[in-house]
């Protein structure tokens, strides 16, 4: 089992969710986040005050998957979240020690297998 953490553009979130749905990746958590990965800052002006937005709005997806699903999940996010411009985000894959489904007490692979 792996935990896939992906940081993507908020404006690509719908595309990413659609792609994941088509790959039958069902269980996921998203968090609205702010971050910075080297993209050019956008300049905003409010009356005489000019600011550069160093931190950019991002969305973080946390997806726990069984090993056979890692590859297709990553591919789906890469394909759907990409614009080619700096700032498309990152994908991190972390080992998972243990998973429980709270409702049933199922463990590990069973716990990350979606309900039929």
């Amino acid at each position: 089992m792996k935990l896939i953490v992906a940081i993507v553009r908020p404006e690509k979130l719908n595309d990413v969710l659609e792609a994941l749905y088509k790959e039958e990746v069902r269980g996921l958590t998203i968090t609205l986040a702010r971050g910075h990965g080297g993209e050019l800052e956008s300049v905003e002006t409010y009356r005489g005050t000019t600011v550069k937005m160093k931190l950019v709005d991002k969305v973080r997806l946390d997806i726990g998957v069984s090993d056979p699903f890692v590859e297709r999940t990553v591919r789906a996010i890469m394909r759907s979240g990409r614009t080619g411009e700096v700032g498309d985000g990152k994908i991190f894959i972390l080992p998972v020690q243990k998973v429980y489904r709270i409702r049933t007490g199922e463990e590990d692979v069973e716990a990350v297998t979606p309900l039929a």
Partner: protein, 426 residues
């Protein structure tokens, strides 16, 4: 020496301010219906009309609409407000009449923005509404109110059902077709980001509409009272029917639906306000709910991305109102007799007015957009559409947390260590 009347002037001063308020109200009505990343852009499309169209009106538009000319268009006598002073026009000062009519031109152009939100380049939009107010709005206003051919024909339009609403509604349809749908249209759910703003905008529109219809009597008189009361009753009829339609269709009466219903009721009573008895106004409002309701349901299943349903609300609502004016009008209340009072010809005149306005608006809007399109792109790049129009087009966010914002010091910034006080934040 003149027939100036203090009471009339007082009411028209208030009515002018009321109608001017409708454009910011429209901004919030439309703003609430778009996604938060396009909020400022949508607000600015209405606010910009207060500037661009207002100035165009004073410089040229008023003359094209109300100076003596031919049946199609006014002349240049009032260019740069030349000859528009404190002399009386009817029972109010000419200058006040000009200002009152200017508020109509402003909101009519702003209405079209609802069809092209979330995707149009702001510069192209500015050019579009300015040209549109001069080339499309001013002549049609002349036809109906400036002594043009529809006035001579005897078509009834109390406060602008054809001039404002059919005109803007058809312009919106053409603009949506020329611009094309948003890239996410039909693929993703494009939901209103603030329904409370939609309701707030609706409330202010209704309030302003008392000046729009009540003021179209051009005085504090019995006709104004009839128009005022009809402006109150008709949307109530529409609202009740709409809630039943919502309940029948989905089992729930929606807030966005209620707001839409009030606007459609207001649109529909606009041409009829000073011509129909109050009970007929309720019937007119109630009937007007049906075509617009089904037009909205139908439109959302098509590829036509008239994003905020300007065609269904203003085009269809305005046309239905103008036609029903020819049905319900009664001469003793003002104007002429309609179908129910035994004068079927009036309905024919109303139909001519609707069709002529629709045809002219369609052709004019198409020509202006294609012309601007030759000089510069009409649409923002797809990437900007994804990010939302606010930051790329305006350099601001509607709902900024300010976190992570680095202050850019101007060249004459105070030395390091001094406390920076940004301008405008004192």
């Amino acid at each position: 020496m003149d027939s100036m009347n203090g009471a009339d002037t007082a009411w028209m001063l208030v009515a002018t301010a009321l109608v001017l308020l409708m454009t910011p109200a429209l901004a919030f009505f439309y703003g609430g219906l778009v996604r938060s990343k396009n909020m400022l852009n949508t607000l600015m499309m209405s606010f910009a009309s207060l500037g661009a169209v207002g100035i165009a009106w004073a410089v040229l538009g008023y003359s094209l609409a109300f100076a003596d000319g031919n049946g199609f268009c006014g002349g240049g006598a009032y260019l740069l407000l030349h000859g528009v002073g404190l002399e009386s026009k009817g029972s109010i000062p000419h200058l006040l009449f000009m200002a009152y009519q200017g508020t109509f031109a402003i909101i009519t152009a702003a209405l079209i923005s609802g069809a092209i939100v979330e995707r149009m380049r702001f510069r192209a939009y500015l050019a579009f509404i300015t040209l549109w107010s001069l080339v499309v709005y001013a002549p049609v206003a002349h036809w109906v109110w400036g002594g043009g051919w529809l006035a001579r024909l005897g078509a009834l339009d109390f406060a602008g059902g054809t001039v404002v609403h059919v005109n803007a509604g058809v312009g919106a349809l053409v603009a949506a077709l020329v611009l094309g749908p948003r890239k996410d249209y039909g693929r993703q759910a494009l939901l209103p980001h603030s329904v409370p703003f939609v309701l707030l905008g609706t409330a202010l529109l209704w309030f302003g509409w008392f000046g729009f219809n009540g003021g179209s009597a051009l005085g504090a008189n019995a006709s104004a009272v009839l128009a005022f009361v009809n402006t109150m009753l008709a949307p109530m009829g529409t609202l009740v029917v709409w809630m039943f339609l919502d309940l029948a269709r989905t089992g729930r009466a929606t807030a966005v639906g209620a707001a839409t219903a009030v606007v459609i009721g207001l649109v529909a009573i606009t041409p009829a306000a000073g011509f129909v008895p109050p009970i007929s106004a309720i019937a007119l409002g109630a009937l007007a709910a049906l075509p617009s309701h089904y037009a909205i349901v139908w439109r959302s299943r098509t590829g036509l991305d008239d994003s905020l349903d300007v065609l269904s609300a203003h085009g269809v609502g305005g046309a239905v109102g103008a036609l029903l004016t020819g049905v319900f009008a009664v001469k003793v209340w003002g104007g002429a007799d309609g179908l129910l009072a035994g004068n079927p010809e009036q309905l024919g005149r109303q139909a001519v007015a609707v069709c002529a306005t629709a045809a002219y608006s369609a052709v004019g809007t198409f020509a202006i957009l294609k012309l601007i399109g030759l000089v510069a792109p009409l649409r923002a790049p797809g990437r900007e559409e994804g990010i939302g129009m606010d930051v790329p087009q305006h350099g601001e966010e509607a709902y900024s947390s300010g976190e992570g914002a680095i202050l850019v010091m101007p060249d004459n910034a105070p030395a390091a260590g001094a406390i920076a006080v940004p301008e405008g934040r004192s």
